[in-house]
């Protein structure tokens, strides 16, 4: 999923999951990783996938986009899985399902938590070059996105790109002659690079102007722990991982 879409969902939502505290929402990726690490059977993985989808639905998250995001890596992951072919389709299913579950769990966290809130904690202990670059990355993505969109609009209104739909991005330019696409793509990416370099220089100036002395920490706005949400999230995590463990221990393993 594209960062602007994820960010919009995280900053504009008001569901119970959006309002839950970050400390509780961390249980979501932990659930995904835990089940992925423990399971050797597709059944628990598919079940967890479904449960997480229900959680996403309850939080009014974009289900179709989540599904697409989990499916997108399938072709390449499937290729990898086939490279381990042992005449056992369940192994393929396990490999695919592990990837889909962990992606889904991570997205649930990202779609309901604004990035500044997520960055607030790590920026205090990571080296400045990493944490603060990450903060500026977050800021810069949106500025560059706007500027890239402006360049694309400029090319479009001047006839460089044709679209079957009224609006779209250059990579959706289904009417543009093939030979023109690389040239247009090169111009767009080239302008993006130039804008990025200029932006880098202006951020450097801005840091200097604004008295930067090595401190750039987003303020943590972690909400107060809310009892129902905390119980649901941690209780759910423990239950799911526990069930996956039990399935494994009981030998309900289709992987052979």
């Amino acid at each position: 999923m594209r960062l602007p879409s994820v960010d919009h969902s995280a900053t504009s939502g008001s569901s119970w999951l959006h309002r839950a505290s970050i400390s509780d929402k961390v249980s979501l990726p932990l659930t995904g990783f835990g089940v992925a690490a423990i399971s050797a059977s597709p059944v628990p993985l598919v079940s967890v996938y479904a449960v997480l989808m229900i959680v996403a639905w309850s939080a009014s998250l974009p289900l179709a986009r989540i599904v697409m995001a989990t499916i997108l890596p399938v072709p390449m992951v499937g290729l990898y899985a086939l490279s381990h072919w042992q005449s056992d389709w369940s192994v393929i299913a396990v490999i695919l399902a592990k990837g889909m579950v962990t992606v889904e769990a991570s997205l649930l966290l990202m779609l309901t938590t604004p990035a500044p809130d997520l960055l607030a904690g790590p920026t205090r202990w990571l080296p400045a070059i990493l944490s603060q670059s990450l903060v500026l990355t977050y800021r810069a993505v949106f500025t560059l996105w706007d500027r890239l969109a402006s360049v694309q609009r400029a090319i479009q209104v001047r006839g460089g790109i044709r679209h079957r739909r009224a609006h779209g991005f250059p990579w959706e330019a289904y009417g543009t002659p093939l030979l023109r696409l690389p040239r247009v793509g090169g111009i767009i990416v080239g302008m993006a690079v130039i804008r990025a370099i200029d932006l880098s220089a202006t951020y450097d100036d801005a840091l200097r102007l604004r008295g930067y002395r090595g401190l750039m920490h987003p303020t943590r706005r972690d909400g107060a722990r809310r009892f129902p949400a905390a119980f649901i999230l941690w209780g759910g995590c423990a239950s799911i991982v526990g069930i996956a463990t039990a399935v494994r221990l009981m030998g309900w393993d289709l992987a052979g």
Binding site: Y80, H84, W85, M110, I197
Partner: protein
């Protein structure tokens, strides 16, 4: 293209761990190199170029699920040390957006950095030719060389994921019953020959290519398409930048790779 798109819990833990360790060493060395230029300047440079890669990453060539990464372009502009940090941040952002496993961030960082570093190195070798108005060609060649090399590294990592170390092969799947990791699911090697009645494969198999080999062929075939596309776009982009802002790619005197005038 060279991006280990395997979910968490699939690659052997030792392989993912080695990747994380390699990434930590790489980024530590790179941090020391870049902070010599002044961390205040390094931070916006790496932050913005990472953002650029995140934005360019959204440009997807749909039929083969190939995404432009702009990693070689970033390497040409940033150089290897800024590129290493940018590579880590890029893969962190990508992993949390669902594009790549979190446990494979280390491996992906190393592979992405290789693209940047090799691309930067090849372009700098070809720079004398770029001065003669062939900047696009040089950019395309640097991209093709870099991506083909990183694809081979990627295949090597995938191959390693099935290699049996001294103990049993791990799939990364933790067996809570025994407290160990699952036994191998991969036969290893490129060619397999099975004699009738031997071990796990009682039926005779004509000496043939292993599934991994087919995977490698598929990857190289698709990869070649990707190299061509990204090489083309990168080449055109480099040519564009060479006309508008040659200093950005080191084609004019008195400016560094970040396009800032040198004193």
């Amino acid at each position: 293209m060279t991006h280990i798109m395997v979910g968490d819990g699939v690659l052997p833990w030792w392989l993912s761990g080695a990747g994380i360790l390699a990434a930590v060493v790489l980024v530590t060395i790179a941090s020391r190199q870049v902070t010599r230029t002044g961390s205040r300047r390094a931070i916006p440079a790496t932050g913005v170029m990472t953002a650029l890669m995140v934005v360019v990453m959204s440009i997807e060539i749909v039929p083969i699920g190939y995404e432009l990464h702009g990693t070689v372009l970033a390497g040409i502009i940033l150089g290897p040390w800024f590129g290493a940090i940018s590579s880590l941040l890029f893969n962190v952002v990508r992993a949390f957006l669902g594009d790549g496993a979190i446990t494979n961030i280390g491996l992906n960082t190393v592979v992405t950095w290789l693209e940047m570093a090799v691309g930067s190195m090849v372009f700098s070798r070809l720079r004398p030719f770029a001065y003669r108005g062939r900047a696009s060609l040089c950019g395309g060649i640097a991209t093709a060389v870099s991506l083909s090399l990183s694809t081979l590294v990627f295949l090597a990592i995938i191959a390693l994921s099935g290699v049996e170390p001294a103990s049993a092969v791990h799939t990364g799947s933790f067996d809570v019953a025994t407290g160990t990791f699952d036994p191998e699911i991969h036969s290893g090697g490129l060619v397999e020959v099975h004699l009738p009645g031997s071990g796990e494969h009682p039926e005779a198999t004509v000496a043939g290519l292993t599934p991994f080999t087919w995977f490698a062929f598929a990857t190289l075939f698709l990869g070649a398409l990707g190299w061509a596309i990204e090489g083309l776009v990168t080449g055109v982009t480099v040519g564009f930048i060479a006309r508008i802002r040659p200093g950005l790619i080191g084609l004019s005197a008195g400016s560094d790779g970040l396009g800032r005038p040198t004193e």
